[in-house]
Symmetry: C2
Amino acid sequence: MNVSTSEKILDVAESLVVAGGYNGFSYADISDAVGIRKASIHHHFPTKAELVEVLLDRYVQRAVSGLKALGEQVTNPAKQLEAYLGYWQSCILDASQPFCVCAMLASEMQMLPEEVAAHVRAHFRNLAIWVRSVLEAGVEQGLFSLSAPPEQEAEILIASVHGAMLSARALGKPDVFSAIVSPQLARLMTPR
Amino acid sequence: MNVSTSEKILDVAESLVVAGGYNGFSYADISDAVGIRKASIHHHFPTKAELVEVLLDRYVQRAVSGLKALGEQVTNPAKQLEAYLGYWQSCILDASQPFCVCAMLASEMQMLPEEVAAHVRAHFRNLAIWVRSVLEAGVEQGLFSLSAPPEQEAEILIASVHGAMLSARALGKPDVFSAIVSPQLARLMTPR
DNA sequence: AATTACCTACCTATTAGTAGGATGGCATTC
DNA sequence: GAATGCCATCCTACTAATAGGTAGGTAATT
């Protein structure tokens, strides 16, 4: 319960970004949701760009440590991928966070302040590195059979995840997400 | 050269939507690009929602007739898919239209006026139907071997395309698009 | 005494949108 | 064929609301 105001601001801002992107929310929206005056938000985050930068920093950091923790907790690469995809599936199904913050911002890339854009790029690279390493470990253990280099297979899987989010959102059907993603995972695990 | 003002407005608005989405542009931006006063844009399109609605109508209609023309011109289903993917690949490579208007708006779905959202949904459905029918024709001719029902394979391909657009934009590397999409197409065409 | 967190009150620029006037082409009427 | 009225296009000039951001003050901690 004892969560600081700046955390509350970041939480609200994050969900607003997920809903409508960088240009889809204002300090007034945050003000309403948090129950604090606009000027007070500026006290914590002088500019909108800085706010989103911190928000992204937190998001990317959380993703990194989340995936790292997953790696320590679950050793089977196949189960690791399942957990990653399952995470998003449940977020989308219960509508708690029906879109990746970075995927959202990626679509607005051309209009983002450079510092924000850099964070988005970093997330995409981090994610690709993680998926790639999981795929490589899985191949080594004979769990996956890839039809392309692991680097490329990683990009394909990531694109499928983001594309599936888009389709699910566009059609207003959360279950579309797993209909797209599950076969992609199954394909990797199919024994040759 | 003799293109009407309202066409110019729609052209400019379309490229602005591609760049930054619904909330990423204003009548002032259009005004600057077209060389006409803001009020004159309101003469052609009373509200922003109506403007984007007409824009989307045009876009979706163009897509439908484009795909239909493709079907009449190219009979081989494999070549049809290649042409569809190649279209986007060249758009992204030469940066002429580095994103699908509907994919862009799909990410903002939650904040869109309902009429606009309906058009976006329609495009996703149309596209799925087209891809599905091409896949079915290809299977019948022994060109494709699907590992999931054609409906699902269509959704997968569409998600890959949109996800690939996102990744290419996020990373600032246009060639990422075909690195993701080509193997997906190859996979469908792989003989059993 | 200084700092943190919040406030009221304000600022300027921009947003979508409106009111009403000027221009100019086109069809109807005389 | 000239005068008529009409209507589409575009304009200047405005509006109210909202955008991101600032100035300066208060009250409680440190």
